[in-house]
Point group: C2
């Protein structure tokens, strides 16, 4: 059975979704998206992701050509049809065909549902390492399609054995290319807010923290603090709560996954099981 | 007769040029381009534009899937076939279909040739006005497809009666969204180089300046200096040498097109006529 996707009001196979050379999504990088996981037909935190998608559209001055209800109906239709045990849903909107090669046109709205594999379990058992790079993202609070710097850097961080890049401005960190950052200091979780994407997993971890005995401190974080932290982890839809044990050539603490990060990994897995009504989760 | 374009080695109508939902040009804004004008079949400064295209590819780590010779042959084929009196050629390369929604794939190369009209003559006779905006472009030296901030701002500057936006970092200017900036002070032309796209028209004006009695000074330019300048003009392929007479609500000098800017407009028109072997040009 062929998987279906949603493209401007129609349910079509993926091959039918194409963008013209006049689309400012192609020509001018003018597009937004959001992304969430679906576990046996149950979307995880869909409302929060669609809220953020609407906020991204508002901040770029784009009008979403379908109602929230139409979008949710389309999502349920494609995930029920496709029947993937584990998948991702991406809602993507480009600025549409431009009359002059620059001005936005009538937006194109696409919803894709793609089967995915679970992340490598060793990333959770052993922790991961990050490369640092001085760079400030444009419009960090908007989930635009602009990841040119990250895509350019990917072959470099892979070649060095890292799994992603941590951006900083020379003094303070902002975020990993597609994740938020947390430090652990005693019973404190420290995370930053300015100049970073308002992550949905980040929000869930912040909400979860008090039940697990943590106090959350939201403030700018210096790169030097990250390097000297007791524990470091990153959060995102794809990475969930992922321990970081090395940055560039330097180990974080003893280079092992920290006990408090493990507590949060378990806590988040439980939250995800509740949200998606699944029996249990393993990282 | 239908116009033809070049798409990955084939000569096709524009409608046949499409990008898939897996192309990192769409998904991740990973693409570069360059653009030049063609006057009665004669490309203007094509070599310089193709040199810059190659430099953009190198800086992003992208491999161009056709040789320089193949690209030039394709350009001449489409412009000779299309026979537009005045047109633009865009060479655009996207990162191609991604295996995982993030990593670049095999690049797609497109060359389009589109008929264009000459710019509104009143922009040269009366000068134009710009809006200012605090913003630092990512990878300014690379001609990427990322213009999301400019596309977002366009409805705002239009509504205020401006023709474009001048970026600054709070103190120093960088450039207009698609143009370089020059100030005139006595017989000096002042222009900046760091943090700006190496413009081809900018380069031509710099080379032309001595013959017209100007000395060129290349250095950072404060926004306050621009507002207090004797004359201001911007340069680009589309705008050529275009006088700026107002920024936000403030007139530059007496708000009229300056005599030295006129000299450079004429000088550049003459250079363009020589380059393209056209009888003469009017701004």
């Amino acid at each position: 059975m062929q998987a279906i996707q949603f493209f401007n009001g129609k349910f079509v196979p993926k091959e039918s979704i194409t963008f013209s050379i006049d689309d400012v999504g192609v020509l001018r990088g003018f597009g937004i998206f959001d992304y969430f996981k679906v576990y046996n037909g149950a979307p995880a935190f869909m409302e929060a992701h669609l809220n953020r998608f609407e906020s991204s559209a508002l901040l770029l001055g784009m009008e979403i050509p379908f109602s929230r209800n139409e979008i949710e109906t389309a999502i349920f239709k494609i995930i029920q049809h496709n029947e993937f045990p584990l998948s991702g849903v991406k809602v993507l909107m480009t600025g549409g065909a431009s009359p002059d090669g620059f001005s936005a046109g009538k937006p194109n709205l696409v919803i894709t549902n793609t089967a995915v594999s679970e992340t490598n379990p060793s990333f959770y058992a052993e922790g991961v390492s990050l490369m640092t790079h001085q760079f400030t993202r444009e419009m960090p609070q908007v989930k635009t399609t602009n990841y040119a710097t990250a895509v350019r850097l990917e072959p470099i961080w892979k070649q060095k054995g890292h799994i992603d890049v941590l951006y900083h401005d020379g003094h303070y960190i902002s975020e990993v290319s597609r994740s938020n950052v947390f430090l652990v200091e005693g019973n404190k979780l420290i995370t930053n807010e300015e100049g970073v994407l308002p992550g949905i997993t980040r929000m869930n971890v912040v909400n979860l923290a008090p039940q697990l005995g943590f106090v959350v401190e939201v403030r700018p974080i210096a790169l030097s603090e990250v390097l000297a932290a007791q524990e470091v982890f990153i959060t995102s839809t794809n990475k969930k709560v992922m321990p970081v044990v090395k940055i560039d050539d330097q180990e974080i603490a003893d280079g092992k996954v920290g006990a408090k990060t493990k507590l949060l990994m378990e806590g988040y897995a439980k939250l995800l099981a509740e949200e998606t009504k699944q029996p249990s989760f393993q990282n």
